[in-house]
Amino acid sequence: MAVMSYLEAGKAALAAEMRDDASVWALGEDLGRGGVFGQYRGLVDEFGPARIVDTPISEATIMGAAVGAALLGTRPVVEMRFADFALCAVDELVNQAAKARYMFGGQGRVPLVARQPIGMWRSSAAQHSQSLESWYAHIPGLVVVCPFTPADNYGLLRAAIRCDDPVVYMEHKDLWAMTGEVDEAADLPLGKARLVREGSDVTLVAWSGVLRAVEAALPLLQDGPSVEVIDLRTIYPWDRDMVLDSVRRTGRLLVVHEAVATGGFGAEIAATVAGALFGNLKAPVRRLGAPRIPIPYSPPLEEACKISPAQIAETVHGML
């Protein structure tokens, strides 16, 4: 067990896979100088510029080239810098990467990982803050992962790289510095949620950066309801079993995500659970997400887009 930051965990995971498998390589802008957040720092020294590849500012071709290289059996790890810039490469990810294996009748596969850092962070404003995990969950062929802890960022990035399907891997920018214990020997499966905390009154499902607000909300609920917290980790395929089992016990579900509530993945979870446990719920399923507004720059306005611990606590109370 080592203590690592979320950033270091991602880097260690990539390095471990690159050591284990010569077909793994990474490509993106400024990777040779460590990447925009330092999440690749030093890797070029160990693996050389042919495997830690600096690219031009050509998002469409970064992604499209990764598709071509993946079809030949290499395992490219694509760095998009900000999930927002991946919007310059949607044809390549959605029309090509996600569909190639299928359209070609299984002749080829696209084992790429598209790292797309998400989330609000330091007044990054409307074009550097989006969380679009629900988009990719809607696209057949894509796996979508949103790790929260350093341990998960380590284990799930390794799993994503080993996965033969294209994986959209969304790290949260506000978590880079967060540290935690990482068991480098653990094998984490994609598609399994993490039980953060047991509870009996309300099931709270969340993922990625907003789990910090969830953590901060728990003390506010100390003498109140007992909340079971699930970190979904993989958005698609999501761990229906763990969520349903939990809500079957608690009878109440609150889904919290940083993304816009309207059309967010919380809707899918809420609709599924409300349907599957119809008649067995003690309260309506609740969802918390951002209002449907672009993310503003000004700090107090940005704050207004975020889910606060108080809001979570209040919502939980309101469900009882």
């Binding site: 077909s23 390589w25 042919a50 495997r51 690219t55 031009p56 050509s58 469409a60 071709t61 992604m63 499209g64 080239a65 990764a66 598709v67 071509g68 290289a69 993946a70 079809l71 030949l72 059996g73 290499t74 490219p76 044809d91 390549e92 029309n95 090509q96 190639a100 294996r101 299928y102 359209m103 070609f104 009748g105 299984g106 002749q107 080829g108 057949p140 062929g141 894509l142 796996v143 996965c163 033969d164 399907d165 994609l190 598609g191 698609y236 395929p237």
Partner: protein
């Protein structure tokens, strides 16, 4: 037509054979579409066969190609089975893609054909990526990327050529300039001297040839493929040709006059090759026999394709993804 010096008749016969097979395939595909057997869109390369034949003759089985919506010719020239291709057009389980792709997504990885594409210019990024992998692994094969003149107005054209050059990747870009992008004359929508000038501005040597002259294509492609194999980095071939049929098999081509098309038929690459063969002393019967053989191959392919079974509905649910595969009902 005047005799041409130093013609390698055997090689020209091989070209003619390749082109005749493509032509026969395309005519069958057109008919099949008109008769309702092929439901999806079909883009015919009739009139453009010399590019496919002249380029692909230089490729080995392990070499790779990517192509476009108009990719039947390249696919056949690279060595795909015409029966499996027709079955794909018909959506049958024995198609190259089990019927899941259709004409727009034909692929045959067994012969290095990495896929047609429904998105204009998308094949360029995939081709440079394949070449990137080839270089990364130190393999010796090369990648040929076919695309149309219209594709040179999409961003991935610039990005992919730049990419290929900065990493000095083993790619031959082949721009098949048939003058049209769907119903629009590409010239009206393309600024500057042309695709070759664009390639050169990105550091990639370019050659422009008469793409209906299969010998010219063969020679130019030979030289460029040689350079790519020798590690000279990406090369660019601009082949000027003409699409004799509509944009799709259901396009009547009202945006150009019948007279224009008629005039261009004189330039039909098969006709030109046949004439050259004749003036080089090849007997009419030989040519007629090649045509007949090609038609016979396609007739047999058609028969087998038409008799092939439909895919079971479960097949719609395979090869989506491994992490939680969807299942039928």
């Amino acid at each position: 037509m005047a005799a041409r010096a130093n013609i390698d008749v055997e090689r020209l016969l091989a070209h003619y054979r390749a082109m005749a097979r493509i032509r026969a395939f395309e005519e069958a595909a057109e008919r099949a579409h008109q008769e309702g057997h092929v439901k999806g869109a079909v883009h015919l390369s009739i009139g453009q066969e010399a590019v496919a034949a002249g380029v692909c003759i230089h490729l080995k089985r392990e070499d790779l190609i990517t192509t476009t919506h108009r990719g039947h010719g390249h696919t056949i020239a690279k060595g795909a089975d015409t029966g499996a291709m027709l079955a794909e057009l018909l959506g049958r389980a024995s198609g190259t893609c089990q019927g899941k792709g259709g004409s727009l997504h034909i692929a045959d990885f067994s012969i290095g054909m990495l896929g047609a594409n429904g998105v204009v210019a998308a094949g360029l990024t995939i081709a440079v990526g394949a070449a990137h992998a080839v270089k990364l692994r130190g393999e010796r094969r090369i990648v040929v990327c076919f695309f149309g003149d219209g594709a040179t107005n999409r961003g991935p054209f610039l990005e992919s050529l730049n990419w290929a050059k900065i990493y000095e990747l083993p790619v031959l870009f082949v721009c098949e300039d048939n003058g049209f992008a769907a119903s629009t004359r590409t010239r009206a929508m393309s600024a500057g001297p042309g695709p070759d000038a664009r390639a050169e501005s990105l550091g990639i040597p370019a050659r422009t040839i008469d793409g209906n002259d299969v010998i010219a294509v063969d020679e130019a492609a030979g030289e460029l493929v040689e350079r790519v194999r020798a590690g000279a980095g990406p090369q660019f071939l601009l082949a000027r040709t003409y699409r004799l049929k509509g944009h799709t098999a259901s396009d009547l081509g009202a945006y150009r006059s019948a007279a224009e098309v008629e005039a261009r038929k004189a330039d039909d690459p098969l006709k030109r090759a046949a004439e050259l063969l004749k003036v080089s002393g090849v007997a009419d019967e030989t040519i007629i026999a090649i045509d007949a053989e090609a038609r016979a191959e396609i007739a047999a392919a058609w028969k087998s394709a038409l008799g092939a079974p439909w895919p079971a509905v479960e097949l719609a649910f395979t090869d989506v993804q491994d992490v939680r595969m969807p299942s039928w009902r």
